[in-house]
Every structure is written in C-alpha cells, then in structure tokens.
Symmetry: C2
Subunit: 278 residues, 2 copies
C-alpha cells in the first residue's frame, strides 16, 4: 500500500484507527471453539464488523506463534480476509543481521516464498542498519521501527542519553531516517508517552507513527493528536484489547464495532479540528 | 538444560561448539529436493554428522519462517531430532511488552501450547525488563539477550555512550543481570568484536556468552578465548555457514563433520590451555 493510498483511506473513512488482532484462544467466546479454526473465526467476525471504521489491522505474531504450526495457519487465513484497502501490519518486532533480515522480509512480504503478503512489519532497531534495510527493498511495503514503546520497560534503555542529551529513541529516529523515506518507514511511539510526541515530531515531521497503548494500556487519544497529528494525519492509532474483548459473549463482534465506532468518532473530531478533513 | 549439565557436556565433549542451522533451501544439495521435507533431511544429516562434536544447535527461525507454514513444520521436525544432551537454541530475537512476551515464551518453551520445547531463545533488549522477564519463569530454560552483535549495524546504536562513558551494550548487560541469574541468562557477543570481551567479562564474569561470527563472518576464535573464557568455559561459539555449507555436494555432511572436528580440536586446545579440562 502506498502512502497516498493510506492517506486517501484515512480521509475517506474519517478514521486513523488500527485494530490489533492479538487473538488469545483462551479469551475468545466459547462457542467459537467448535469451529475448526476458532482464532480465524473470531478474527473474521471482528474484521467484518470493523472494516469500514479502521484503516489498518495489526495481528501480533506472538499470539499465533504460541500455537505453533496451527497458529501460523490461522494467521495466514486471517491475512487473506483483511481487505486490501486496509494496511495489514505484522507486529512481529523482527530484526537480525543483513542476510537473516532478508529472510524475515521474505517471511512477511513475499507470498511466493512464505504465503504471507503483509503491507508492513514492525522491526526492533537494536542491531542497526543492515537489520532494517532489507525490508526497504520491497516496493510499497513498510518497515515500522520501534522508537518509543508503550510499556514500562521502555524506561530501561530507550531514555538513555548521550553527550548531546539525545535520548536513544531520538537517535534511532534520526539514524533510521537516513536509511529510508517517509513512504516506506514508520515509527512505533506509545500513546502512554504523550508528552514526547512533540520531540518526536521534531525529528520525524512527515513520518507516520504507529501508536499502540490507547485503551487497555491507558494512553490518551486527545493528547496524542495534539502533538502527533501532521498535515497528512501521520498517525495510526492502535487499540486491541478494548475492541476485540469488548464483550466475552456472542455479541463480541457487535461490541467490537461499537467500541471502534466510538474511537472513529473521536478521530473524526480530531481530523476536523486539525483541518485534515472537512 | 541446567547450567551444570551444559558445563558437564562441554567438558566431556571437549568442545563448546554451537552449530547454526540457518538452512536455506536454495543452498542445500539438489538431491535433497526430492524428499518431502528437504530442509529437515539436510538438518538431520548435519545433526547426525556433528552431534558428538558440538554442545548446542541453533536454528535461526528466519530461515524457517521465510517458507511459511511449511518452514515451521521443518523447524518442529528438526527440534525433535536434536539430542537432549545438546542445548537447543531458537535464534529468534524476540521481545515485546510483557503480555506478548508471555506468548513468545509459550511459542518456544511450552510444547503443550506450541509443539516447541527449545532450551533457549535469543531476545532483543530494546523494550526492557517486561519484555525479558516472562522467559525467565520457565525452569531450566535460557534467555539469551543481545548485547554486542557481530554485524556492521552493531555500530549504529550498541556503542552509544551515556554520561558515564558506558556503552549501550554494557548497560544492557548491567541491567539484565539484575533480572535473572547466570543460570538462566546468557548474552550474545559477536566474535568480530574480540577486543570487547574483556569489557564484557567485567560486567558478566560468570555468564555464558553465545558468540556468533566465527567462520564466514571473520571472527577469531583464539582472541575470543583469550578474553572470553571463564572458569566454567562460559562460551558457546557458533559457526554456521562454514560448517553447513562446507560442501555443495553429496558429501556435505561429511565435510560439515570435518569442519566441526577442526573447530572442536581448536576448542580442546583452548580448554586445555585454560586448565578447564585436563
């Protein structure tokens, strides 16, 4: 998916919502367990109920890998029913030496090799340039690099400062900016770190930011928008648990839709306020 | 596998060799392509030819993921034929927020969930404490945390220094030391960075270090040993391409054995010199 297609989709749907598909088989409604692939059935209903309200879906691969080969089959089926008009993000946080990142790129971006054709992949930056550039060789695909994450552990290393008083997460953004462009790189910035969006926009005014942490993790959408929106929107705000587990009953898809609609309305307000849509 | 079992195995085999199973289907001898699972057949012959000369096997998951569901099946079959006396390491470089790392731990350490029962997993430290501690809940399993990697990109972030002139890779070791113990944590330190083993041993005198980069990547075994060996050995030195692709012909397993034997002999010399074996 190109940057232009993504922006058009945001404007048309009046939403920059990303729905996380971190589907835990122990948390889905029990009646689905009678199906051959309960996780896929759950995802299918979630996608059908929310596709007109969001612009991206983000399955976290850990929730599939933990079921081994069966889990990868569920992930493959799920990817096939994500509409092409939505950005499909494998939240896999991969990254390894160059020849190995080449293989990870095939794993997520090359359907002839792996059966997977995601639009985007999240990447951990610790191993540097050759761990990231292999993903940028694919046209209209996105590398979404971890900058400032939403969890408590983000305080351990991401805030370390060098002699210029520059945090590690800022240095990551500044370096990675040189390896790609705002049409093939995004950054992960947690919603729980609202006060840092201003700093991040200094280094990455044009890039899209993938923002987890709204909902169950407690991030504030309005604060994120105040400092994070740019002229093209530039935000994909993810919610997972608050949407997909909005109900434990048979009405889970309906409740997921209601929760998504409420977030979409808030996002529409922010887009109007910022003059991105009218 | 416990620390004691690993040390006993090293002393008995007079080797601290880890064989990397980064099996690329496009590089294996052509006659194997007639088998139903060529990657597994290749790995099986490599393991049979080297099991008495090494103490660990390390499949890099990228080389399996790039073949999708089929690749995960090859990995599962491969894990089953790695002898229990050898440490099995999933080189997967995972790491995510706590509730997600829980899932990755299941993916690699919990056979009832995923079908996989690796002894150890490599982990990227960027996301901090809650991304690492879920792996430490499993008894006799190992989290092998990236500290100083062997690739060119390691220069991008791992050498950044804070006010105390401490490199990021040193800070990673110092912090992670507090979260686990030398019997459930190891560190990845590339053989291409021989001169830094001295610094690393200051922070982690007792930990095992997993050392990639000998062989195709140009690291020097003798230098690694001079500064890296501790009283229990404390090193697992990995070689991949120089062993598994020692020959492109039908004699690939024989040649892999010859290459492993030559490394084992060098390692035996170092163990004798250091008085770890007699």
């Amino acid at each position: 998916m190109t940057r232009k297609q993504l922006i058009d989709e945001i404007k048309q749907k009046r939403s920059f919502l990303c729905v996380g598909l971190d589907t835990d088989i122990s948390k889905i409604p029990k009646f689905l367990l009678d199906y051959e692939d309960p996780v896929f059935e759950f995802n299918k209903r979630i996608v059908e109920a929310t596709a007109d309200l969001c612009v991206a879906y983000k399955p976290n691969t850990a929730f599939y890998e933990c079921r081994g080969v069966k889990g990868w089959q569920s992930l493959q089926r799920t990817l096939k029913i994500i509409p092409k008009t939505c950005l499909s993000i494998a939240d896999a946080k991969r990254g390894d030496i160059g020849n190995t990142s080449d293989m990870y790129a095939k794993a997520f971006f090359s359907p002839n090799d792996s059966g997977f054709d995601f639009d985007a992949l999240t990447i951990a930056p610790y191993m540097g340039e050759d761990s990231i550039t292999p993903f940028l060789k694919y046209e209209n695909k996105w590398a979404i690099v971890l900058a400032l994450t939403s969890n408590k552990g983000s305080l351990d290393f991401q805030f370390l400062t060098d002699h210029d008083e520059m945090h590690l997460f800022e240095q990551v953004i500044r370096k990675v900016n040189n390896w790609g462009r705002p049409d093939n790189i995004m950054y992960v910035v947690g919603a729980t770190r609202g006060e840092f969006f201003k700093d991040i926009r200094k280094h990455a005014p044009d890039h899209f930011l993938l923002v987890p942490g709204v909902g169950a993790q407690g991030g504030n959408l309005q604060e994120v928008c105040t400092y994070g929106l740019n002229k093209d929107c530039g935000l994909l705000v993810n919610a997972t648990r608050s949407i997909i587990y909005a109900s434990e009953g048979e009405d889970f898809a309906e409740k997921a839709r209601a929760e998504s609609l409420s977030l979409q309305k808030e996002m529409q307000e922010e887009l109007l306020k910022a003059g991105i849509i009218s």
